[in-house]
């Protein structure tokens, strides 16, 4: 983790000192505030002040075990940031599912760990549809998380892509006939595209 600080050599101290810039603990909100406040300082005194403060990301270097640890940590941080919108029991069980999914002993070393951009899409999807039932979790070899729900013989599988995009596959039985459908859409449209398949069967208890 690193911090960049630009000093005014005449005064010998950061020019943002007239603002109360908090200690950067590295959380998303604090990092953003520190960045914003230092930008404000820069704008207020452009002739003498250039400052930027932030954390470098840990990155995907290191051993597979470290990469998986970092992926778990990034996912849990994202869950933590919306913890007030999640039921405590739901959240604990979801944490356990993530630990199992990203378990070093079970992980195929050819696969990429789940990316935080894919996980962000999953979390935003779950909060949007207010799923009472937690999905089963899986992952693609290129780091996309997969959520799957089953209701009897009917199955919904969603692959979470970055930027709120999803690929979905439905297997649905109607009057003894097996029907399947698939598509790609944004999570904002998920309720509409799944409405012909009675999506509540997967999300409600």
């Amino acid at each position: 983790m690193s911090e960049m600080r630009v000093l005014d050599t005449k005064r010998g101290k950061p020019l943002s000192s007239f603002l109360n810039v908090p200690t950067n603990t590295g959380s998303e909100e604090t990092s953003e505030l520190v960045d914003l406040l230092t930008r404000v300082a820069f704008n207020l005194s452009p002739s003498t002040m250039i400052q930027q403060t932030g954390f470098t990301t840990v990155g995907k270097t290191g051993t597979l075990e470290e990469q998986l640890y970092n992926a778990r940590a990034a996912c849990k941080l994202q869950i933590a940031s919306v913890a007030m919108h999640l039921d405590q029991d739901w959240r604990s069980r979801f944490f356990a599912q993530l630990d199992n999914l990203l378990d070093f002993d079970e992980w195929d070393d050819k696969d990429l760990p789940v990316t935080d951009t894919s996980f962000k899409t999953l979390l935003r999807l779950l909060l949007l549809i207010r799923a009472k039932r937690r999905p089963g979790l899986g992952a693609t070899s290129d780091g996309h998380i997969i959520a799957a729900w089953t209701a009897g013989a009917n199955r919904l599988t969603i692959e979470c892509l970055p930027e709120d995009q999803i690929r979905w596959i439905v297997i649905y039985h109607i009057d003894g006939e097996r029907e399947s459908a698939a598509g790609q859409t944004s999570i904002e449209r998920v309720a509409e595209v799944l409405s012909p398949y009675q999506s509540k069967q997967w999300f409600s208890r």
Partner: protein, 255 residues
């Protein structure tokens, strides 16, 4: 204008909110003379069981001589950032003190205070005794407001702390950052409130941050028990400020 003149004579009580919007709660203690890297490493080692993950922090200073045009870059160690297994507990061990931070789910003041006491205790055991010269309690709140049909909200409906600006266009506000720093109604304490809009983590929502920092730089007790009583005071002041900054609509959202 003094506090009594505007009717501020006592702190408001704080009700319990089922969905408290706290995204980070922090207790910070700073000391006058910096600890050495070795001493900081000792604290890290002592805390390893509670905070197994540690990263070294580095500061890069770019010095710009604005008259001569010369530029130099230097790097210096800035301490360590420790995290617990589930990433909800963060500790900064820095040359000038310790910061204990808790991310959601917020476990309550007592748990945060206890974590901070443990960290402080290990710091004291590993560094030379010296007076505390700044204590601070800081809470970052993120209020997520659901959007119905409108693409934005009127901040006044949710916060008593918002930027005032003349109506220059029919467009809605897409960004702001404001900070106010003033003494509190309690002696020795200063508060700093910062607010900004941030991208909402939830779809079809509008999110605004309300960061409340309460700190004190003088008359800090040297006795341990009194020190923590004083830190408790900061928490009450912070609660009072939060109550005064929000509206009933926000109370409804977080209850």
């Amino acid at each position: 204008m003094i506090a009594q003149e505007v009717g501020l004579t006592e702190l408001l009580p704080s009700p319990h909110y089922a969905r408290a919007p706290i995204t980070e709660a922090v207790i910070e203690l700073r000391v006058a003379n910096p600890a050495t890297v070795k001493q900081q490493e000792k604290v890290v080692k002592r805390l390893k069981k509670l905070y197994p993950r540690s990263e070294a922090m580095q500061a890069f200073s770019v010095n710009v001589d604005t008259t001569g045009g010369t530029l130099s870059v230097s790097q210096s160690p800035q301490g360590f950032r420790l995290t617990n297994d589930d990433q909800t507990g963060v500790v900064l061990i820095q040359p000038n003190g310790v910061t204990t931070s808790r991310l959601p789910p917020y476990p309550g003041w007592e748990a945060l205070r206890e974590s901070a006491q443990i960290v402080w205790d290990h710091w004291k055991r590993s560094t030379p005794r010296q007076p505390v010269n700044r204590i601070g309690v800081r809470y970052v709140n993120r209020i997520d407001v659901p959007l119905d049909e409108s693409p934005t909200i009127d901040l006044k409906d949710y916060l008593q702390f918002y930027p005032q600006n003349p109506c220059l266009s029919g467009g809605y506000m897409i960004g702001h950052i404001i900070q106010v720093t003033r003494p509190t109604i309690m002696p020795h304490w200063t508060y700093s409130i910062t607010s900004t809009i941030k991208p909402p983590p939830l779809l079809k929502h509008f999110s605004v941050l309300l960061d409340i920092d309460v700190f004190r730089k003088n008359d800090i007790p040297s006795k341990e028990e009194q020190l923590w009583n004083v830190i408790d005071e900061a928490r009450n002041i912070k609660n009072d400020i939060f109550q005064r900054c929000i509206t009933d609509k926000t109370r409804e959202l977080i209850s």
